[in-house]
C-alpha cells in the first residue's frame, strides 16, 4: 500500500472541466509561442537575414 495520499477520484463534471482547462492552457501557450516568434521577427526587421553562414 502506498504511503502517499491518493488523489481524489474525479467526477465526470470535474474531468470535463479539467480537460477543458488543459486545452485552453495548451492553446494559450501555443499562442504565446507564436506571438514571441512574430514579435522577435518584427523587432529584428531586416536584420533577421543578416548573419554569417
Amino acid at each position: 500500500m502506498s504511503v502517499y495520499p491518493q488523489p481524489p477520484e474525479l467526477t465526470q463534471e470535474e474531468l470535463q472541466r479539467r480537460n477543458a482547462r488543459s486545452r485552453a492552457l495548451g492553446l494559450f501557450l501555443g499562442a504565446l509561442v507564436i506571438l514571441f516568434f512574430i514579435v522577435t521577427i518584427a523587432k529584428l526587421g531586416g536584420n533577421v537575414m543578416n548573419r554569417p553562414i
Binding site: A20, R21, K43
Partner: protein, 320 residues
C-alpha cells in the same frame, strides 16, 4: 476555511468536504478574473494614446504592446478580486465572480495575477521600452496596493484617487511608442480621472446598501446620497472643459471638440437630473441613466479621437 471553500459547499453540487478541494475553474472563469469590461476600456484608451504619438508604430509591435498593457490591467483586476474576495461575496453585484462563486481558489487567482503582472511588464519592456514597462508596473502597484488594499477600505475618496490607475493607460500607450509622455496624453489621463467619480458614484448610489453591508466607505454610505449627488454634479460640470481641453490646447481636432462638447453637456444634464430626482424609482432610473451615459461618453470621445487619427491612414486619404 477560505471563502472559496465555503462557497463551494453551497454553489457546487460535486463538492465533498472530506476530500481535497480541486480547481473547478474553466478558461472562462480565468478570463472573468481579468475584468474584461475594464480591459476593453484600457485597450481603447491606450490605443488612442499610441496613435496620437508623432512617431510611426510598427503595427505588430504596437499590437503586442497593447496586448501587454491590456494583460497588465487584467492582472491588476485579478489581484483586486483575490484581495477583495471576502467583500465580493457579500455584494450581489460581485458575488458571482469566480473566487466567491468557488470556481477559482484564492491561491490560484493570486498566482495567476502575479504571473500575468510580471509577464506583461517584462514583455512590454522587451518589445517597447522600459519606461513604459515601469509605468505599467507602477499602475498595477497603484491599483492593487494603493487602491485595493488601502484607499478602498479607508476613505470616501477611494475611487477619486484610485481612479488614477484607470486613467494611466493613454499615457502608457503613448510612452510605449515614444518613451515619454505628451500634454495630450496627460489631458486624456485627466479626462478619465475626472470622469471616474461621477461614473462610479452613480452606481454606488444604487448599490449603497451593499457597500454598507460589505463595510466599504463609499461616498453615498458615509456622506449620504444628497452629498453624493452634489459631488456628481460638480464633477460632471468640470468634465465639460476637461473633455474639451485636448482640442483647445492640444492636437485633437474639430470632430473631437464637437463630440466632447455635445456629450459633456448631455452628461452634465443627466447629472443635474440625478441631482433633482432624489426619491424612489425615478432616482434609481436617473442613476442608471447617468452610469450608462458615462460609459457612452468615454467611448464617444476616444472613438472620435481614434477616427481623427485613423482617417488620414485610409487608402483614399493617402491617394490625395
Amino acid at each position: 476555511m477560505t471563502i472559496a471553500a465555503e462557497s463551494l459547499e453551497t454553489s457546487s453540487p460535486s463538492f465533498d468536504k472530506e476530500r481535497p478541494t480541486i480547481a473547478f475553474g474553466t478558461a472562462r472563469d480565468y478570463y472573468e478574473l481579468l475584468k474584461p469590461r475594464v480591459m476593453q476600456l484600457v485597450i481603447f484608451t491606450a490605443l488612442v494614446g499610441m496613435l496620437t504619438s508623432p512617431e510611426p508604430i510598427n503595427p505588430i509591435l504596437g499590437f503586442a504592446s497593447l496586448l501587454a498593457i491590456a494583460v497588465g490591467a487584467g492582472a491588476s483586476g485579478c489581484l483586486n478580486m483575490w484581495y477583495d474576495a471576502s467583500i465580493d461575496a457579500l455584494m450581489d453585484r460581485t458575488s458571482k465572480r469566480p473566487i466567491p462563486a468557488g470556481a477559482v481558489k484564492p491561491g490560484e487567482a493570486l498566482a495567476f495575477g502575479m504571473t500575468l503582472s510580471i509577464g506583461s511588464v517584462l514583455f512590454l519592456g522587451l518589445i517597447a521600452n522600459w519606461q513604459s514597462a515601469a509605468f505599467l508596473a507602477f499602475t498595477i502597484f497603484f491599483y492593487v496596493v494603493i487602491y485595493t488594499m488601502w484607499l478602498k477600505h479607508w476613505t470616501t475618496q477611494n475611487i477619486v484617487i484610485g481612479g488614477a490607475a484607470g486613467a494611466f493607460p493613454p499615457m502608457i500607450g503613448y510612452m510605449a511608442v515614444t518613451g515619454s509622455v505628451s500634454l495630450e496624453s496627460f489631458l486624456y489621463f485627466l479626462l478619465i480621472f475626472v470622469w471616474t467619480p461621477p461614473h462610479f458614484w452613480a452606481l454606488a448610489l444604487v448599490k449603497s446598501k451593499e457597500y454598507a453591508r460589505a463595510g466599504v466607505p463609499m461616498l453615498p454610505v458615509i456622506a449620504g446620497p444628497d452629498a453624493t449627488r452634489l459631488q456628481i454634479l460638480i464633477y460632471s460640470i468640470a468634465l465639460i472643459p476637461v473633455g474639451m481641453a485636448p482640442a483647445l490646447i492640444s492636437h485633437a481636432g474639430l470632430l473631437y471638440l464637437v463630440v466632447a462638447t455635445g456629450f459633456g453637456v448631455v452628461l452634465a444634464y443627466y447629472a443635474f437630473d440625478l441631482y433633482r430626482k432624489r426619491e424612489g424609482d425615478e432616482a434609481r432610473k436617473a442613476a442608471f441613466r447617468l452610469f450608462g451615459t458615462s460609459i457612452l461618453y468615454l467611448f464617444a470621445l476616444f472613438g472620435a479621437r481614434l477616427i481623427e487619427q485613423l482617417l488620414p491612414l485610409l487608402p483614399w486619404s493617402l491617394m490625395k
